[in-house]
Amino acid sequence: MKTKVLTLLAFLLLALPAMAGIKIEEVTSPGGIKAWLVENHDIPFTALSIQFKGGTSLDATGKRGAVNLMAALIEEGAGDLDSQGFAAARDAMAADFKFDSDQDGVSVSARFLTENRDKALDLLHLALTKPRFDAAAIERVRGQVLQNIAGNAKDPSAIAGDIVRNAAYGGHPYGTIGDGTADSVKALTRDDILAAYHGSMARDRIYVAAAGDISVADLGVLLDKLLGDLPATGAAQPADVDLAAKGGVVQKDFPGPQSSIVFYQAGVKFEDPDYIAATILNNIVGGNGFSSRLMEEVRGKRGLTYGVDSSLVSFDHAQILEGSLDTANDKAAEAIKVIRDVWADVAKNGVTQKELDDTKTYMTGAYPLRFDGNGHIAGILVGMQILGLPSTYPETRNAKVEAVTLADVNRVAAKLMAPEKLTFVVVGKADGVASSN
């Protein structure tokens, strides 16, 4: 039974995937705005992705939720168009614009048919440079935000997320959710929203990428038209913060058959030379779908949960290694113990050569599969620029993964995995689980 499996694997290891033929062009507009482009003329549309660094972490003191509300209002009327007029103009040419915000940025993603490119960009330009922030739109969207906040207050995983943020980042902007509180959002005025707009959407923090049916020359013209008259500078970026993880358990009651559990400890900086080894390690522990240690121990062997994962996240100003699962209240204590055991085992004994080899083939095989479709490519290209990567990175990335040795991963495991600092936040009536002192 096992022989055949091994044969299959041996056959497969022979063929290493080649990097997809992604050609990234670095474009600088006549006005000096930079962007990356992957041209592909197979389908007559273009995907555009823009990120303004900073996001909800730029909220002024006492104005929590201002950037989030502002970003949600950009599409609610601009220039001489009110909210419905703007939507009608956009939909008549079947363009899509999405505006979003998180703790590190305000993002804009757009797609438009080639036949409508000029009109679509005029409209997007209007939204970016002349948003109206009408009183009626503010009140309507404020109501939606307040309902989200009320919903999160009754969502155990959102409650767990709030507890983690508070405990991990304290008074830093990362310490509270960017939506704000009901009180802070109710108190926001139109002037606060305008201040958030001016502070967060400036040219000194902009990252742009496009993919699809557009040439370098056309993209250059587009960049100047779209972004050239945004203000040059905005609000100061926040400082970095060291994550606090004390170990132990924080438990909060919540009704229902299950508990939502989040566990976390300090992560690794993207710039750290061990970052790729740490990523491989996380994939082995809990990042790699059905094949991870956590999935095997918690779900596969014991059926304690439907799913458990871990991720190594490098934000602009902090790094965290965190995981989550939902589990029945009578199984939560056992699940926590199993996760702690996995953590301690990996810290002490490291991982195996086979786990490393499998994870390398997974990571090197999966990497080219990300670049499928204009929408995905534009998003990836913006992310690479924010991380400070060169546009040639896709050609060298897999070699960096291949170069990691078992000694590297196990050295990083011993240094990174901190069982005594691994902190569990449990929201639910988990049997035999109580907050530690």
């Binding site: 609610e76 009608a88 939606q144 309902q147 969502d155 599969l369 929408g375």
Partner: protein
């Protein structure tokens, strides 16, 4: 606009409202193997990726009474090994190649898929064809997996009052059709499912003549056909497969109403669900009209009839939506949802919703909104080509729901051909509360 408010509609798997097929038929080829297995190939040569899917024409609605959840349980057990591949190894082998894999079950079908570099198609086809006829289950793995699906029910349904409410709505909507039983199963029946139940369901339903292979990406149709003949071709067809004839609905003559209160509810809402016709092979006209009706009533967060009247005009709602998905073997539903603004009662919200629909039927279709929806239907055919996995999904769902490749390709044209008069006539006949369920989900405080 804040769009994170997620409301799940009735009992079927969520699906996009405008389930538009592609008109770029030149990229789609289809075959039938000698053993009866259908094959669809969708070409996209931009990236060296392939999606490989097998869709079985068997779903939760085909379960025997008392065995709810067995279709989904078997889907989980299909990862628990064959005579040649150890439990869990299929996913590991796919992951070791950088690929991803998963599966899902709905009322009408069960599907398995892998996404890998296109030169690994051989491997995933070998693995998928193996488990079509060589499943080998140990009692221990069955016992563990039963715990996993009970936990899945905990997580997806029992911990979420909105999902519990959706189950109750579905059970009230269908008086005779099996769609009233949830896909994941009722807990008390799930607890009694056995290894033998799973093996019986497998033996009765998993065979090439009950399956559709969809391969999409950087592949050539001839190469896919050759591989399919190599791996799926030798599997003999089953003589137990027969066309799906299930109990159907009698005339629904009485309006039904439900109220559910739960302390975990943050935001009350009202849902109206009308029994509605589905897309049928060669007969999709009425479903096309209903699709356009849903778009007009509640498909757009700013300019739909309900959004304009209830969110922008009267300001009594913070979210409105109309939902219809015609992909279904048997009768489906047409749904309306209103989330009232703070201080607005569910009764007032429901009355306002009905008044808006009545006014729409009286006033007729706004020609500008109708033109915008048609422009989006047309553009979606372009945008859809950027998402090959999505296209594979569209064809798989349609074929597993009894439609043909031609039906998928005819669909955008049928949507374009819908007239305002047809929409109003359809609204008059179909939006009839005699065959509808109205549900209020509310907080305990509000119910007292």
């Amino acid at each position: 606009m804040i769009s994170t408010f997620g409301l799940k509609m009735l009992c079927r798997a969520a699906a996009a409202l405008l389930m538009v097929g592609t008109a770029f038929a030149d990229t789609v080829s289809s075959f039938k193997l000698d053993n009866g297995m259908d094959v669809v190939v969708i070409e996209d040569h931009r990236t060296a990726v392939v999606v490989h899917m097998v869709w079985y024409k068997i779903g939760a609605a085909d379960e025997s009474p008392g065995h709810s959840g067995i279709a989904h349980f078997l889907e989980h057990l299909m990862f628990q090994g064959t005579k040649d591949v150890a439990p869990g190894d299929l996913s590991k082998m796919v992951a070791a190649q950088g690929g991803s894999d998963n599966a899902f079950t709905t009322q009408d079908y069960t599907a398995y898929f892998q996404r890998v570099a296109s030169d690994r198609l051989d491997l995933v086809m070998k693995l998928e064809s193996d488990r079509m006829h060589n499943l080998d289950l140990s009692q221990k793995n069955v016992d563990t997996e039963l715990k996993v699906i009970l936990d899945e029910r905990n997580q997806r349904i029992d911990s979420d009052p909105g999902s519990l409410f959706t189950e109750q709505m579905g059970a009230a909507q269908y008086m005779n059709q099996p769609y009233g039983v949830p896909v994941i199963g009722w807990r008390h029946e799930m607890e009694t499912l056995t290894r033998q139940d799973a093996l019986d369901f497998y033996a009765a339903n998993y065979a090439p003549n009950n399956a559709i292979l969809v391969v999409a990406g950087d592949v050539k149709p001839d190469d896919v056909l050759a591989l399919a003949q190599k791996y799926y071709g030798p599997i003999p067809p089953s003589d137990k497969i027969h066309s799906r004839v299930r109990p159907t609905e009698p005339p629904q003559l009485a309006e039904r109403r439900l109220t559910m209160a739960d302390q975990r509810v943050a935001q009350p809402y009202v849902v109206r669900s009308y029994l509605a016709p589905e897309r049928n092979a060669g007969d999709q006209k009425e479903a096309a009209v209903l699709t356009m009706l849903a778009q007009l009533l509640g498909g757009n967060r700013s300019t739909s009839v309900m959004a304009k009247a209830l969110e922008f005009g009267q300001k009594i709602a913070t979210y409105t939506s109309a939902q219809y998905d015609g992909l279904s073997i048997d009768k489906t539903t047409f749904g309306l949802v209103v989330v009232p603004a703070d201080g607005v009662s569910l009764d007032a919200a429901e009355k306002a919703m009905d008044a808006v629909v009545a006014k729409f039927i009286k006033d007729g279709v706004d020609p500008a909104e109708f033109a915008r929806i048609k422009a989006q239907v047309s553009a979606k055919q372009v945008y859809d080509r950027d998402n090959t996995q999505g296209l594979a999904h569209q064809y798989g769902m349609a074929l597993a729901s009894g439609l043909s490749v031609k039906d998928v390709q005819d669909w955008p044209g049928l949507l374009q051909a819908v007239t305002p008069e047809e929409v109003i006539a359809e609204a008059k006949t179909e939006l009839d509360r005699k065959h509808a369920v109205t549900g209020w989900l509310t907080t305990e405080e509000a119910a007292q």
